[in-house]
């Protein structure tokens, strides 16, 4: 009988702790994604402002790419963490950001130096 009661108490306590940990983990992860996308958003809006004045063909392409990035960021479902294409859309945003950096001749931050990795083919 005490075995059973002990088990129930343990289960309740464990679930409670698990829930708290889950919430912490979710909040942390959510904050990371939010801050990453937020930084891309700020970056894109700034460059969009800077390039507004230039109307030549090359800059029009850059502005189109920036618009595309801003559009993807705005469409991202912040309210729904269970969205099944969340990772996919996040990768697309990251890819678009890298492409925009390439067009603007800026190094995107996550550059690893030429380190000596093991031989690969």
């Amino acid at each position: 009988r005490f075995h059973g009661e002990g088990f129930q108490e343990g289960l309740a306590e464990g679930s409670h702790a698990g829930l708290a940990e889950g919430r912490r983990h979710g909040a942390l992860h959510g904050a990371r994604v939010g801050s990453e996308i937020g930084s891309y958003h700020g970056f894109a809006l700034t460059w969009h402002c800077l390039l507004q004045k230039c109307t030549d063909e090359k800059n029009r392409k850059k502005i189109r790419a920036l618009d595309s990035l801003i559009g993807m960021i705005q469409k991202f479902p912040y309210e729904d963490p269970t969205y099944d294409k969340l990772q996919e859309d996040l990768e697309k945003i990251r890819g678009k950001f890298k492409q925009v950096c390439s067009m603007l001749n800026i190094q995107s931050d996550f550059r690893i130096g030429p380190e000596r990795s093991s031989l690969t083919f």
Binding site: K61, R64, A65, S68, E91, K92, R94, G95, K96, K98, Q99, C101, S102, M103, Q107, S108, F110, R111, I112, P114, S117, T120, F121
Partner: protein, 312 residues
């Protein structure tokens, strides 16, 4: 700079050594369709584009952006697009501005979940194929202003090292670490609307022929023969045989009798190697014996056969 000349007489001479652009292994090179440009992909993370000059080659662009080793580079047949892929799991598509010789990144595609080994363009369409450590082949096409992954070919059970298109572009062959070759055929969407994506089905798997990983595959656009480079020190040539046996019933559904690729090489490959360079040129021999033979020199030199390509 002193350029060594082959003492063997007429043959190949080294015209240029382009040594200052890359700081690590140069993994792949690709000529532009017009022949005036050469792209080189390097483990230093950059891809250089060289232009043919009177007395050599000069770098006209350095494509940066990949986070680590670039594994492959390929020019599209149109000459206006370049594709690169890397250990960073992404495939980048670059557009060339003809007049200004400027390269612009038009898309960064992160569809693969692991190291991307090889990228190859379709022979006539703007369709790109990539092979990866994640055991899949993926296809990409342009859509609006961007590129997207339009198909994922699953089936291999290990790294896909390379991919080759047939001359029509209706089929492609992939070779893998799992020692098999797979032939994929484009399936035209039947009964679906015009806006649907064509799918690809694996119509043939060749297993049991290769003793080790298959590192490269080439599909000859003239003869239809498929050649493979394998870690078991052999080059194999496969040809398609359509069943014409008198025993088979006259009306047969295609799905029951897929085209077979038996390993009966019609050609004997004679490998010759020049003394100075380690490149190998294979020519079809006039003899018709059903086995692959190597000259004694070649078998001493080769431990594994690495890239393989057909002379067009």
């Amino acid at each position: 700079p002193h350029v060594p000349v082959s003492p063997l007489g007429p043959g190949w001479s080294c015209r240029a050594v382009l040594s200052d652009a890359h700081t690590r292994t140069v993994r792949r090179v690709s000529w532009s369709p017009c022949g005036q440009y050469l792209a080189s992909a390097s483990f230093d993370g950059t891809t250089c584009v060289w232009k043919r000059q009177q007395d050599g080659f000069e770098v006209v662009a350095t494509l940066e952006g990949h986070e680590n080793e670039v594994k492959s580079v390929a020019w599209a047949p149109s000459g206006t697009l370049l594709a690169t892929c890397s250990r960073d799991k992404s495939v980048w598509v670059w557009e060339v501005d003809d007049e200004e010789e400027e390269f612009e990144c038009v898309s960064v595609l992160s569809a693969h979940t692991q190291d991307v080994k090889h990228v190859v363009w379709h022979p006539s369409l703007q369709l790109l194929a990539s092979a990866s450590y994640d055991d899949t082949v993926r296809l990409y096409r342009e859509d609006d202003d961007d590129w997207l992954c339009c198909a994922t070919l699953e089936g291999h059970t290990s790294t896909v090292w390379a991919v080759a298109w047939d001359s029509s572009g209706q089929r492609l062959v992939s070779c893998s670490d799992d020692r098999t070759l797979r032939v994929w055929q484009r399936q035209d969407s039947e009964g679906q609307g015009s806006g649907s994506e064509p799918s690809w089905k694996c119509v043939c798997t060749l297993s049991g022929y290769h003793g080790r990983s298959i590192y490269d595959v080439a599909w000859c656009h003239l003869t239809g023969a498929v050649a493979t480079a394998c870690g078991d020190d052999a080059v194999r040539v496969f040809e398609e045989v359509t069943p014409v046996s008198p025993m088979s019933p006259p009306k047969v559904h295609r799905s029951h009798f897929p085209a077979a690729f038996p390993c009966f090489p019609r050609l004997t490959l004679h490998c010759s190697a020049s003394v100075l360079s380690t490149s190998v040129e294979a020519e079809p021999s006039l003899r018709n014996s059903p086995s692959v033979s190597f000259s004694r020199h070649m078998s001493r030199m080769a431990r594994a056969v690495f890239p393989v390509s057909f002379r067009e």
